[in-house]
Symmetry: C2
């Protein structure tokens, strides 16, 4: 069946599946690691359950904030907590827009309503992403503030970009997603290329999820260690173990990688 093509929703599911199955991805849930409260099965369940949201995203009249809300609601039903919040923020514009060019258009055309739906979705999760002093999702006045200032979802992302590499993708035209897609091609094929690309991405920018959880110093050290693995001066398995033991999980880099896999699958 050489004429067979994946739908955009399937392509997004495949990207999430290939990311979580690849191993070892230092510090993250993968085929060989679970976290205490979040297991491989939780990631796979979310990948299955989000499908209708992704199908809605590729249909007519989809609104990015509403689709994000729908995706989080559908995947927030198991006990594993949020598994793909950051990934959805990248995949949903990509599915809606069809490709990176389209995704950029989607992000530029967001509304205040998209921002409100995003905050409602965010309120359902306990994920460490995009919080800022001015727009704390736990603060009910945040929603009033968005309306008063007429902030779109793009404005929210611009506001969060300095501290969050996923939000930054919305502002810089999915730059690291594109870098990752190029790296995936350069690094060969299959599971090994995915692991090498993860290490490459981790090597040249501090993971903002690590920054939020452990501070900039640990994030810089993790970046340096990843670079040493790529240079052959540090053992991958030991690096992985050190990350797990210290609770250092480069979650934002994994989100970027999922976006890159989506693009590379085209």
């Amino acid at each position: 069946m050489t004429t067979w093509r994946m739908t955009p929703a399937e392509q997004a599911q495949m990207a999430m599946m290939l990311e979580v199955a690849a191993f070892p991805k230092p510090g993250n849930v993968d085929r060989c690691h679970d976290f205490h409260s979040t297991r491989l099965e939780h990631f796979l369940a979310s990948i299955i359950l989000v499908r209708p949201s992704l199908e809605n995203a590729s249909g007519p009249g989809a609104r990015v904030g509403a689709v994000i809300y729908d995706a989080v609601a559908r995947t927030n039903v198991h006990s594993g907590g949020n598994t793909h919040f950051g990934a959805f923020l990248l995949l949903i514009p990509l599915v809606m827009g069809g490709d990176i060019h389209g995704a950029i258009n989607v992000t530029r055309r967001t509304t205040v309503d998209d921002a409100l739906n995003f905050y409602r979705a965010f309120g359902m999760t306990q994920v460490r992403v995009l919080t800022s002093d001015r727009l704390d999702v736990n603060d009910p006045s945040a929603l009033e503030s968005i309306v008063r200032q007429q902030m779109t979802l793009y404005d929210i992302m611009a506001h969060s970009a300095v501290n969050d590499m996923v939000a930054r993708e919305w502002i810089n035209g999915f730059k690291r997603v594109r870098t990752g897609a190029d790296l995936l091609k350069k690094n060969g094929s299959g599971r090994d290329a995915i692991v090498l690309t993860f290490l490459d991405l981790l090597s040249d920018e501090p993971d903002t999820f690590i920054v939020k959880k452990h501070g900039a110093e640990i994030a810089e050290a993790t970046m340096k260690n990843a670079r040493e693995v790529r240079n052959g001066t540090r053992d991958l398995t030991l690096f992985d173990k050190d990350c797990i033991d210290a609770g250092i999980n480069p979650g934002s880099t994994a989100d970027i990688l999922i976006g890159s896999l989506y693009v590379a699958l085209e």
Copy 2:
């Protein structure tokens, strides 16, 4: 969200996902094993790609043979070969019928057309299942023979039941699927209950996939070894390794387990 319910299609996908993620399942692809040409990713890809077929199955006017054909066509696109043929033969009646009682009705009401679509689906796969001297799927006259004898899909399964434990489920009212569902409840919860149930199922009936590939003697020995693991006189990890080394994979027992997981998830 306590009111949340999975759709039947999602329930079937979850059953397949939980089966392949559970480990160690001696001799089979699982979270910790790949086969040379079939990897975990192929199983997960099939689970993602089959969704529209399962949704069609739960819709009005679905025909079991056509849905089986659709499911095999959708999942036959990757290089990992067929991953879930036997599982589809159990899940599709279960999704169509809603539960075991409904599934029995679905199997009893099949037509000659269902039989023809089943054979067309089977012809796309290289799976060792349901062949018999009289109705070899590689023999074009098999289709003519089905029409001439006005055999329904139920008749085909009745014909194959003696040599195939998946076909047998159609005839005996999904007896082993029900046994497995009861065992899953008895064996506790989560991944360990799935592994224990797999061993229990393997312990008390020879796996017909092993019989076809290696003969009855090896299938009996595998059954005895599984029983010893359950009795605590054989090491699970070693049993797993022995199966893998000898290419002994209890694929039909895995199919039954998927059916049982579907029922247990209700």
